[in-house]
Symmetry: D3
Subunit: 339 residues, 6 copies
């Protein structure tokens, strides 16, 4: 399988341990980004993963390329040039003190890119999937245009498009975001979302009758998935569900609807080491399973297990091996069955 992802890569700076930003005198540094993380996960699973982006022509740009190559991502589609590397300052929360994140990404190299710098037909040749999230078009009209170019090339080359809206209020206005996503979604085959995004962007949610306290029934998710599927004429919809109990404890599960059947993964209560990149690990696990054409239930279980395991790993990248993810997927399914 070959997959191409497209997006921005940033340097995440995190005070050591659970120190606060204001008291930090050193930072751990992680290169990452939603689409880069998806490519990294797939490369680690043994697939051909191509990451397309534009990076600055400085040592941090070199560092980002090295971080991708280290785990086997094909970086030959990366353009280098003017601009900065975007930064994310993040302090790890603890107990009732939530994680705090602020972005410092204006003027990034990708946000200054022009469409002519990406030859999508060459990049997508032989690919099975194109993946990007809603963060990429949010970087500017030029980048949104490059996304549409990529989608059109994907359609032309018979490459399926997977997309996660990932709406970030800090990057653009809701109406602008919704309008852009409508256009993008007209090219999308597989939509990866969650209820809060669907609700905020498109006004689509589950029935209030499906909600019982903090729990939402599978029926609720199924109707939500079907509504999204119909509304945007996508082939399939994946939904993740996260509940933040505290900074250190989260619940995570996922659902998948392929236009015919609806399946639901085990729900994992997790002690979080680093939640950054867990949604990307899920997306990668899903595309991996779809590429391998496993059964639907196996697919959503594998994807949810991939997302769950990422929470136990420091950094943006899901350094789990195929066998490890599979083992958890099977164990999780057993435990669910037993209940």
């Amino acid at each position: 399988m070959k997959i191409v992802t497209f997006g921005e890569m940033m340097l995440r700076l995190t005070p050591l341990g659970t120190k606060r930003l204001v008291q930090a005198d050193s930072f751990d540094a992680f290169y990452g980004g939603a689409e880069a993380n998806v490519a990294l996960s797939l490369a680690l699973l043994g697939e051909e993963a191509v990451f397309a982006t534009k990076l600055p022509d400085n040592a941090l740009g070199d560092g980002a390329v090295a971080a991708l190559r280290r785990w086997g991502v094909d970086t030959r589609g990366i353009v280098r040039g003017k601009g900065r590397l975007g930064l994310v300052f993040q302090e790890r929360g603890a107990d009732r003190r939530p994680d705090r994140t602020f972005y410092d990404r204006e003027g990034s190299a990708l946000s200054l890119a022009s469409p002519s710098e990406f030859d999508w037909e060459r990049l997508l040749a032989g690919a099975d999937f194109l993946y990007f999230s809603g963060i990429t078009p949010a970087l500017g009209e030029n980048v949104a245009g490059i996304c549409i170019d990529a989608c059109q090339a994907a359609r032309k080359c018979g490459v399926q498009v997977a997309f996660d809206p990932n709406y970030r209020p800090g990057l653009w206005d809701l109406p602008e975001a919704a309008a852009c996503m409508e256009t993008v979604l007209s090219y999308v085959d597989i939509l990866i979302a969650n209820e809060s995004q669907a609700s905020a962007l498109f006004g689509i949610s589950y029935s209030p009758l499906a909600v019982d306290g903090d729990n939402v029934s599978d029926w609720g998710y199924e109707t939500l998935a079907k509504a999204l599927c119909k509304r945007f004429s996508v082939k399939a919809v994946a939904l993740t569900e996260r509940r933040t109990i505290s900074a250190g404890i989260n619940d995570f599960s996922a659902k998948y609807y392929d236009g015919r059947a609806f399946v639901s993964s085990p729900k994992y209560r997790m002690r979080v080491v680093d939640r950054v990149g867990s949604g990307d690990a899920f997306a990668a696990g899903l595309l991996f399973s779809l590429g391998r054409k496993t059964g639907l239930q196996e697919a959503i279980n594998f994807a949810a297990a991939a997302g769950c395991l990422k929470h136990s790993i420091e950094g943006d990248v899901n350094l789990s091996r195929y066998e490890e993810i599979l083992a958890l997927a099977q164990k999780g399914a057993e435990e669910t069955g037993r209940r």
Copy 2:
């Protein structure tokens, strides 16, 4: 609002992570002390906070001053001179292995101070509160005398006195402590205490009928608060309640009685990062609310949230912002209401 606190500052030395003292080959170092921490919290909340003490004339004394100034405490009332900086060696526990602390504070600069070194009327000019804990008079008769000087000046200047008995058996005998505190309490407006201190020092506790296993009813705390209020003719009593489930898990809540009404905060079960200074963060949150004249319930909720959040922060200082404490106070209250 202006507040003046008076007490000793020490250097806390803690082996990295959960290492034991006996195996430590390096130490994290934190400057702190009950009254310094209260001043630091209030400075971080934007109030004028003055800390009075005596510090040695060496690099550790300089470090202590810098630690106070860093977060905005007014250090002009600090006397420098002979003596040592007190030390606290503390090993962080884990699971069933409790924290271990031992003090090495004999001969500290403050314990050698003389009353003439502090000009209380100048220090307290324009202040709303004077705060100190029972550790300060425990440092010696001379220091107890300085405390009484401060209290008398406070009465003269119309400054309210807040006091936390904070009895430490290692520092003085119980009869000596009780006698001294009786004197101090004759000047106190706001008493901050807990049941074990009240019981040990003054023989005042809640009714055994208020206890059900590990839980004590609000009625129990109310009668305890009233008893203390009456016994010492203080205007108000704040009570904290802590239960140590393990080294890493604690329960924390607080009560407040102002002579008329009794209010009770939400109870927080917390995963502890560093519990040092949490009582001080509570005291600061309470004084802050009293200074702002919020409602009683808001006051105890804010104070308890401040105490709770401190547990998630490394070091002695509650580096939480006003908005963060308020958000937890409101969220905690909602959750309690829902139960």
Copy 3:
């Protein structure tokens, strides 16, 4: 009391924090080994503890000796010579990602040792116990032979033999292991084991009727202990029971049968800092109590508390003091009694 233990010592290399081996660019290093850990625990409890082994004649061998001496183990019985120091690479798991360990111990100095290098009668003179685990004879026929020499000398000198089968599939085949252990067990007085080992090696387990979900009744363990006692004519059997809830949460308890009475320790649910060496801490706690001739219940409670506390300490060595273990043993017993 004097105890002699015999086995291999290794250097454990662990990526910092919860990093994975594949991403590690530095390692924490701990010298340890089952029998060395037992000797270290006993030396820390104030007993005369002799550790016999062979170590390479290089800086790592010197480091191993220093690690033993640091806490008071008598290292004069250690032979130095050719070969390597065995290594263990271990990554700490987190949440659903389990610990991963792989051994790199082939060609170790002890595995190349010859019987003539150990003068057992001299080493065992005046000793109360000889202890080793099944890892030692697994290192090779020559080392198995040295174990038998030691056992025979122990019998001759009136030294009791304590043994933990500790079967490791990576070191030898099951039939080979079972055969060797049969021979060893003919010299053993006190057998320390668990159900999975008893079942795998000797086909001895508890009745299925004793199992209720994840719980096994004391009756079940008692019958297992009696069966082992009878099968191998040992004087006493200690059984440990561990359940791994996640990488960070484990349950731990223990049982003891002395041929007459059966006792059971409190069960501890623990948040794990480092589980390496916890079984060894248990064994040491048991031998310590037997040497002091405390009551059976006190003995198993002390041993289980020692094992429990080790989980809260970084490194292989149980750096708990006698008073600390005793305090937990008494507290655990009280809590159990109350339920």
Copy 4:
């Protein structure tokens, strides 16, 4: 003495030890900036030091304020608002590999400031000196305008102006810089410069006859100082001389001409720990001496010793005490005299 400095503060991020940026996975972080460093040095010497700037309204802005307050700088003149905190990525060189630095400061809060945000007459009230470097006007026309405002207010209030051109090619073009500095210099009393800046900006150098290999005679510096003095009608000129032998070894010395006399400091060959802020430490040492009205030779010796000592201290701030600087100034002078 009171001094007011005005400029930008940044966060410097440096890979640990001598690691290169491209391989860094963590960074040491230091808040600093030329004018902030001058204020910090003077506060540490016990003077009243006010730092004026604009900082972003986020945790990094808070961190910058805390870094100033920690050593006693008056931060009440700091405006908070929109924009970023500028960043400097710096890798420490070693031996023949020089330090590498790149700036990421576009869009900083100060560069977005407007003149109305600074009330110079209030800030400068009672001050002896206003100090800023050429980096400040280089941040934009608006900031250059604020600098002129400050200069005019200084003239009005009888405050002397000290200025270091500090031309940075990355920030502005040479003609633009030279033109702006001409204007600034019409307000300047004390010019702090070096030959390479004087030559690049104003075409003023020493006579080639003053140069002998790597050495320049005092006569050469004297003529250069006089030329600058005359050209810009300043009262005094200070010149520093640095020679980079390798990344870790530098030579440093300074000269001073007050319109009448010319003095020259000892020359120091230094093993460099961190050279950032050494020019600022020199400037602060000079202003301190001028404020104390020591003799000229004492002044330049003290200033050069301050600059030299900074090289031995990690971070941007010269954490040397008055006595320490004085001791080196005297020792350096003695050694020079003896030669």
Copy 5:
């Protein structure tokens, strides 16, 4: 240009800072090996670099592959299978205490490899150079056989062979080594060596008349190079010269003779950060220059500058950019010319 290198990769474990092995409780870890380092340097210079080896099928093997990919080496020629990853324990010396290194590499995966696992004609297709050092054939007769296979394939494919004898007494006997190298050298085009190796292995040295104290004249090196050239019928000989002044200070220079002309690089006195891999950086710099067909003097200057810069970089890999090496090569040449 394409280059293929073949050899063993190891994990180097080094106590932090200048700690000794015996006191180490943590280690920095670096993956490297002579031939891997050459490939890494060339990949960083932008060339196509293929590294062939056999690595164990475990996490350390994965880590080694990731370390190669990170900087762009083509790892598709790497075989995975049974065996260990070799280890090197190294303590950094300081001043008069020299570095100490010991190898723990027996049973490594490559030492267990069989010739059929390497398809040399495919690996070498289109390559300009094959490179390996004498460590590779020293790993065992099977590996020596693989080396000869590689050489024969190189000759068949028109690929030049570059070789560095790198005799290590711990790995094989001198006669055995000399005999094997004779065979290897019959295939070699470019021999990279130093005097001590040439003397020990082949009894070829410079004239005693060329030696003056610690200095050897260029004439001496030229006769040595010519002797080696003639003796083994190689096209060219490169010689490095290192003098260890102390653990932290080394001199380094190089010579090159291409059968016609002899050239000599500047000599660098260096303050050493990490000398591991400096010879490999030199070899890579030389092959890079030969591939680019620069002039001889440029080639040896570039190679020596590459070797020099490596000493300033932590880890095995020369993370210097082309421009940086070139700048030092030119500066070094200028300085030499001036003397």
Copy 6:
């Protein structure tokens, strides 16, 4: 050989790297003390080394014992009881910024010891040497008394006494110190000193004619040694000579006069890692050589090499092996011979 040393052990706290005390937020911790270091060196050289002291009955006291045992010192002569562990705060200098040290040792356990706690005849049984420095009697009259007890017992048991005055102005007055040392010296066989101590305490120096700039001739040292020998009727005098070029560069050499012959070691210019304990390493090296009865020249060369090597090792303990010291002693002697 058996040696007994007697003195105080402290915990040295040092900010990481070259940070200043005032900015430190963590400390490296080293247990040490002059006499403990001598015992540790001798134990590492394979001799029987007994250390006598009194330590507090807390975790730091336990840590001190463990630090001694780790390298083989016999700790059975250590008394445990009331008091503190003395502390030394030390900041590492750099370049022209010298090391700064301050002691916080008042009230240490040893300073509170009483003579009856030490059974010198038992401790000294079979010993060859008793060693202590002038720091020990400086701790108080009681401790000075214990020193005299030890000396008298030594005389009785035929044990030679080695003594280093090591006068510390912070601990006692000069007249008091001189008087006490006179008494001690009446028992001393081997006096280890340097010129500045001899001059300050006893007014004995070398002839001014022996001084040429920074160099002092051997003749000068010989007359000094003879004067000391005669003045105190000691059998032998060892003199060390240290010159502090900068914080990081020191010169070190030593002389020895045995009443007949005078010998002088090579002079070492050293790049210093950690100079603490280098004098102790010298003393240990000297006693070791005297115990082995090597020639005088060998003895002083070995001792000086031991002192030199210590400067390259982090911590108080000279972790050099016999072979390493010998190698440097021989190399240093050769180099000196060649000059």
